[in-house]
Amino acid sequence: MIKKIFFQLVFFNFLFVGKIFSAESGGMPQLNPEFWVSQIFWLTITFGILYIVLSKLILPKISSNLEQRKSQISDNIEAAEKQREVSESKLKEYDEIILKSKIEAKNIFNQAREKVIKDINKKKEILDKQINEEIDKAEDEINKLKKGAPEKITKIAIETSSELIQKLIGTEINNSSISAIVDDLSKKDRSKYYGN
């Protein structure tokens, strides 16, 4: 019923338009109902076949194609991600190895340095010891000389004074008496000559 009313409505509407056109061109072929049934029939057939073939055969294929591609791409991306992770872990390993070897090298270097320093210190100690010994020896000698000096001087003084007396007086005097005098004198002036 509604359909019929619409048909009439449309028809009426376009009759009006058609009249305007018909003034110069002889009407609209669209409004000639001669082939309407034929057009409806063939539209139903062609569109029906198109719909059936598309919906049953072609569209599912396209959709599965798209899905397949999507999954394939995502699979590939996943694989790439995995590979990336693997390579990253490898890189980390390498970094660790490099770090380790660096530390080792440092250790070796440090050890070597310590050893060298130790050696140097040892040698230095030995040298110090030797030097000290030498110094001690030299000091000993000096001390010995220092100690021996007054006696020698006294000896020299005794000899000189005995010779002096002999030349001056012409007589020989007992050395022991001179030495007693010199000893006495040197004891008296010891502090004046040696300062101690």
């Binding site: 609209m28 082939f35 539209l43 062609t46 919906s55």
Partner: protein, 244 residues
């Protein structure tokens, strides 16, 4: 007769007259272009979906792009509930698009420039959508005619307007497509006629206009197919997701 801009819309019989009862269902030039359009769609989409390579060739890319295009159009306008009707809207869009595009080739017949064809499609959509609406919502589908938040005094008037607007959907849908195609093709024919009648001296202006018009008509051919499909989606959306 060739100068008549309306003669391009004439339907004539190809081959013998076929009669079933009182009805004449002879094969005509309109039928021929329906068959050509459908066959072209089937061939292109069959070739495009035949093998699935990771890097699609041009035809495969074309089919997949149109698949995604229609899929996105339906998803945006009618939501995920419209998924079962994807195949119908896809074939509808492709059929209208191919009929429009084949009509752009000189000396061809534009199937969609005939009101009876577009009207049948629109009526089919209208009836189908109404049935879907009643199946999904029962008599609750009638709530479509009662917008919420309307004062009760205005309600009778609004309901009448809503019913009229609902019932006029198939007319607006079919006339939009038919009138666009007819007007465009008539205009191109008229300007083509001007080129001939003005000759080598004055024919350049209508010729350039005709060229521009051809571009415009190709755009319109696509756009009208798109509008036809998207309006179908919107009607379907009304039936599937009752918004009022």
């Amino acid at each position: 007769m060739a100068a008549n801009p309306m003669s391009q819309f004439e339907v004539y019989r190809i081959g013998p007259e076929i009669k079933v009862g009182a009805f004449d269902i002879s094969f005509t030039n309109a039928s021929l272009f329906m068959v050509i359009s459908s066959l072209a769609i089937l061939i292109i989409f069959n070739l495009g979906s035949k093998k699935n390579s990771l890097l699609p060739n041009k035809l495969q890319l074309l089919t997949e792009l149109s698949y995604n295009f229609v899929s996105k159009m339906i998803g945006d306008t009618a939501g995920s509930k419209a998924r079962p009707y994807f195949a119908f809207i896809f074939s509808l869009f492709m059929f209208v698009l191919f009929c429009n595009m084949f009509g752009m080739i000189p000396y061809t017949f534009t199937v969609t420039s005939h009101i009876i064809v577009t009207f049948m499609l629109a009526v089919f959509i209208f009836i189908g959508v109404t049935i879907i609406g009643f199946i999904k919502h029962g008599f609750g589908y009638l709530k479509l005619f009662v917008p919420s938040g309307v004062p009760i005094v205005l309600l009778p008037l609004i309901i009448v307007i809503e019913i009229i607007s609902y019932l006029s959907r198939p007319i607006s849908l079919s006339v939009r497509l038919f009138a666009n195609m007819m007007a465009g093709h008539t205009m191109m024919k008229v300007f083509g006629g001007f080129v001939i009648s003005l000759g080598i001296v004055g024919g350049w202006l209508p010729l350039s206009f005709s060229v521009a018009l051809t571009g415009l008509e190709i755009l319109v051919a696509f756009l009208q197919a798109y509008v036809f499909a998207i309006l179908t989606c919107i009607y379907l959306n009304d039936a599937l997701n009752l918004h009022h």
